[in-house]
Symmetry: C2
Subunit: 337 residues, 2 copies
């Protein structure tokens, strides 16, 4: 077991697509916890689209990472030293703890994870922030009714795959949009969506129009760009756009124009943005609701895993290119025995 | 008193700005009511921006007027013959009855108007559809909180003037956008808005930014175009856009692009469309709420009146150009003695 902690710090802000050389690996002593603190070793690190925003010097809903700071991110880890009675050595916890092998945290900032119920990585994906995002988006904005048509972009991704399965459970006709035949096949055959449109190879306008003969009632937006352009004209009266992300433009320095909003009046559309942390109560609600579904295998998910903290930047690059398949993760340390 | 009824029918669909020659004046016999029907003479005809949509052969929330059909519109009239016990000769009523001097209506389609409480024209403006639109937009979408900053476009118009006064009553800082110094002066001095930006003479981006040092929490959208472009970047986190109309583009054959929607995610914006008839219960709610305010003079409004049914097309042209000042009306017949 390593006795030195490693961390990835931001070296320079990427111009366009991030590059692994934008980060520096630094060595640190493994810290010792004071009262109320806990030290963990990282097992799984979550890689998510929002991270591109943290690298930019752009005003956003959360502060940017500063040059020389450890890159932010959620992870699951094992307690190796505890100064707080709430946690014992060997406990498994999750939290927003950054791209590092060992983390000193306030005990209050950590959430305990039960052992033996689901693979630990699931607490960063289907049962964690992305799953909760899909749940909150559907519950608070989408409000899908039986028989409605729901379109999910990035349908095989960590958020989209859950959003679409929730729409199916709500009785909707669900159409995915994904990149490539493998993802589309999985979305239809494993996730059980009614159809999936490949935005890379098909005429998107025609394919979406064919897949949605009754128009679109709810669009769960993860990508923006050409997919949004194709979806928007198909929205029905009282349609809802759950605005979760627009990953297609996250590497862009300037953003292209959006749809003319006249249709928002005539069709009484609702276009509403979502940041999962605004409703923190949704995290526990979702974990309680979805854990049995994961245990019984009725809520499906998929992961792409890179090994080693040093591959975290590469994982982010692949994610932003859409070259992941399901939840993007970095395995930083071994699962506990 | 004329013994012949007149009506304006659509002669051809306007290309761009409507022209009075797009309508034909036709003569009709004054009808006789059957059981359950009522005949009225029109006193006031309402001219509203949505009417441009009815002239287009474009799919919208309501059917287009067909060539040769009487142009649609709300009016206030006096019962001159009744086949229904609910209405007597001399009663004053309102309804969606078209551009004509005499109207045969089903009794059930008419709403009685009380005599002696407010000028009859007010039931087409501040107490009617435009006032109800402002009320519903603020109640159902805007949800203004004390201390928030609210921007109202077309601030001196029939909807905007009420929306802004409601925002003031809710304790907000209210900024109007209007065309020309006369309107801006009236918006500030008579309506009591905190400030008003003249979109015709000022640098709109700079003027709005100066007028909204705390950003914008609610934007009541009546115009679209350059005003929307200037407002959008100033919206705060959790900002709301009440999408009531985009009159600046109603004469356009094709619509320009809108804002990039990435900010909807990061700022958790809500952009929501409003058609007042979707919540019909708001009409009576609003009339009950606002009638005492109109009677006591605490809810202000202003009207532009053209005389004669033949001037209805001209009134619509002027309205779409923003050359009205307050509610646009056509006086078709004399007030009752």
């Amino acid at each position: 077991m390593t006795q030195i902690a490693h961390a990835l710090v931001l070296r320079r802000r990427p111009d366009g697509e991030p590059d692994p050389s934008d980060f520096d690996m630094v060595e640190q002593a493994i810290p010792t916890p004071a009262a109320g603190e806990v030290v963990t070793r990282t097992i799984w690190l979550s890689i998510d689209p929002y991270m591109r925003g943290r690298l930019a010097d752009r005003k956003s809903y959360a502060p940017s990472v500063q040059i020389g700071e450890v890159m932010t991110g959620e992870s699951v880890g094992e307690v190796i030293a505890s100064g707080d009675p709430a946690f014992a050595v060997g406990d498994i916890v999750s939290g927003a703890r950054g791209w590092q092998t060992h983390v000193l945290s306030k005990a209050a900032a950590l959430a305990p994870i039960p052992k033996g119920q689901a693979p630990l990585s699931a607490y960063l994906g289907v049962l964690g922030m992305p799953g909760t995002t899909a749940y909150s988006g559907m519950k608070d904005i989408g409000r899908v009714k039986p028989g409605e048509t729901v379109v999910i972009s990035a349908a095989s991704g960590a958020v989209g795959s859950v959003a679409g399965q929730l729409a199916k459970r709500a009785g909707a006709r669900v159409i995915g949009v994904a990149g490539g035949p493998d993802k589309c096949l999985w979305v239809q055959e494993t996730l059980g969506f009614d159809d999936c449109v490949d935005h890379r190879t098909m005429d998107l306008d025609a394919a979406l129009s064919d897949a949605c003969p009754q128009g679109i009632d709810v669009y769960f937006e993860n990508v923006g760009g050409v997919v949004q352009q194709a979806v928007f004209p198909l929205l029905n009266n009282f349609g809802r756009m759950v605005m979760c992300g627009m990953v297609a433009q996250y590497n862009d320095a300037s953003f292209s124009a959006g749809p003319n909003l006249g249709a928002v009046v005539g069709k009484r559309l609702t276009i509403q943005g979502l940041i999962v942390s605004d409703k923190p109560e949704r995290f526990a609600e979702w974990r309680n609701l979805a854990s049995p579904w994961v245990a019984e295998g009725s809520l499906k998910y998929r992961e792409t895993v890179l090994d080693g903290l040093e591959n975290a930047p590469k994982a982010l690059v692949l994610l932003l290119r859409g070259q992941n398949f399901g939840k993007m993760l970095v395995r930083v340390g071994a699962d506990p025995e």
